[in-house]
Amino acid sequence: MFKMAKKDIPNMLTLLGESMDVYAPVKKGKLTNFEDFTEGAELDIDTLKTVKSPKDFFLPQVENLFSATSQGKEINIEAKALRDKPFVIFGVRSCDVRAMEILDSVYLSEPVDKFYEARRENGIILSLACNEPGQTCFCTTFNIDPAHPNADGAMWVINDNIYIEARTEKGENLVKLISKFLQEGSKNEIVQSQTAIREKLNKLPYSDLSLDGLEGNQLLDLFDTPQWEELHKTCLACGICTFICPTCQCYDIKDYDTGGEVVRYRCWDSCMYSDFTLMAHGNIRNSQKERFRQRFMHKLVYHPDNNKGEISCVGCGRCVNKCPSSLNIVKVIKSLAVKCNV
């Protein structure tokens, strides 16, 4: 356990920037998002939730796969290089750290996705405890502890200091790089803060959100429940929930003709879009009800079914804040759980 002065953080990040790319929550106007930390950027570690989750750095919204050129009947393809430069993401919250593990269970399971793997290997995550959990947070439902974040290194802000604990080899190497800013700290010094955080968690509106009724193998029951009809009604079929969700992982593969060559890229896709499953012979999910159901069944049932019961939601509450129609996974969980308890 080390500690350093909070005011030294920008200098510390600048130092790290000499050997790797540094991404940190940066405030621009009213928005805070993870961005390149460059000189003069306004670091903002107080904002709890960035609009976009840091999944961008491992599963970018757009990633070029290869470029193809053709000459006569011949085609040449040139694969794009995998990420090989190390980078650090500073100040990731517990929920987003767990989201990364959920993405791992998809992208690092056989067959491994090389593009994702390369980014994961080069990425170092420094997580940050949530001193002030938000009203829409419900990470505790998924047994995530925002007072004790995982990742390569964990951090706590206490008054004017920031405490850093390396958890992995990557984390320890990183700590060595910034040793000139650090002094020894002790675990006892963060205990009080952790207790305070946990107390606050118990008082949050969603602290009693329970998953009872969603566990166990009842896939078909949940699939056929009349609740979906009720739940989806005001869904506008935009992709806002999928794009701001830290665990949504679906992608599309598309081509772009630049004139000289064709670039094949993959990009985020949303199961809320009508063309998601559109085929030449028709569409299997024709109505918004089916598409809405797919999204939540995937998170709450299908993903756990394939991954030892791990639900693909981390309770970050972004969808609660942002849905134009105020629909969100909490409403779905509550509705489905009620149904099953009857």
Binding site: V62, I240, F243, Y256
Partner: protein
């Protein structure tokens, strides 16, 4: 209290079978986060709320709802009635399948990530729409007429910048876009059966801002496609997760239309032709002359 009156009237109409369902707002998990909802029973209507957080423009939902048999009772704020008229004009909703109860509005609030109120929504700060353009009945006291800020102030400020500054401004703003399509899907004017940005037959269906230009393209074309039809309901700016001031694009078109072709307010009625489906042989300016203004 207006909410109580709305509940009573809705229950009454539902029980008499005058309508088959009610489109309103439902109590959310947070008092600041009500949800647009369709009510089908008197019991459900207990959850109907109406307060300063009910910002969603319900006209958009009518496009789907009035496709079905039956009649929908809908509660519309003054600004929402403009969208209703516009949709009516475009034959996208059926008047005979809806029953409009106009309700007063004192402006809607913006909430932050912690569901705390942080002041009036932009669309309400600049509100000019204080009367209902279409309704079957009105509920509530005399409508409060609020004198809003000048809606075109933002556009004017931009126009006065240099070309480079404007370019810089829009690059910065539009590059924030994550192409979640919330602005498009919430927009009552965006109701194409297949959006040109979803159509795989063109290479415009790129789904993402794969290039520095794609994001500009999407928003310019979207604003252009709704020009003359946009009622300036402000929903696009309200729902944008990245807080892009999308109304600045729409209002530019509105301002230009007013200047070039005479004052026009989309949705004020259902007969005046839209400026882009109309022309005036003698008075329409030439594109070149507009250029010279700058």
């Amino acid at each position: 209290m207006i909410q109580k009156q709305m509940q009573e009237r809705a229950k009454q109409m539902l029980s008499l079978g005058e309508v088959t369902c009610v489109l309103g707002w439902k109590k959310g998990d947070f008092s600041t986060n009500p949800q647009p909802a369709v009510f089908e029973s008197e019991k459900d209507l207990e959850d109907l709320v109406y307060d300063k957080y009910c910002a969603a423009n319900l006209s958009k939902y009518l496009v789907e709802l009035t496709k079905k048999e039956g009649k929908v009772l809908v509660f519309l704020k003054p600004c929402d009635t403009y969208s209703f008229n516009q949709l009516l004009k475009e034959n996208l909703i059926k008047k005979e399948r809806s029953y409009i109860i106009g309700i007063g509005c004192e402006g809607n609030m913006q909430v932050d990530d912690d569901m705390q109120e942080i002041g009036l929504l932009e669309k309400c700060q600049t509100c000019t729409k204080t009367a209902h353009m279409v309704f079957d009945e009105l509920i509530g006291e005399e409508l409060t007429v609020r004198q809003g800020d000048d809606p075109f102030e933002g556009v004017l400020n931009l126009e006065q910048m240099s070309s480079d500054e404007r370019y810089g401004f829009w690059r910065e703003e539009l590059s924030k876009c994550i192409r979640c399509n919330a602005c498009r899907n919430v927009c009552p004017a965006c109701n194409c059966r297949k959006c040109v940005f979803d159509n795989n037959k063109y290479d415009t269906a790129q789904k993402v801002n794969a290039s520095s230009f794609e994001e500009q393209m999407f928003h310019i074309i979207r604003a252009y496609h709704v020009a003359g039809r946009c009622t300036d309901c402000g929903e696009c700016s309200r729902v944008c997760p990245q807080l892009i001031d999308l109304h600045l694009l729409n209002r530019k078109f509105i301002k230009d239309i007013n200047e070039f072709y005479g004052e026009f307010q989309a949705g004020a009625d259902t007969d005046t032709p839209s400026p882009l489906t109309d022309f005036n042989i003698d008075t329409d300016p030439e594109p070149g002359s507009v250029h010279k203004r700058g």
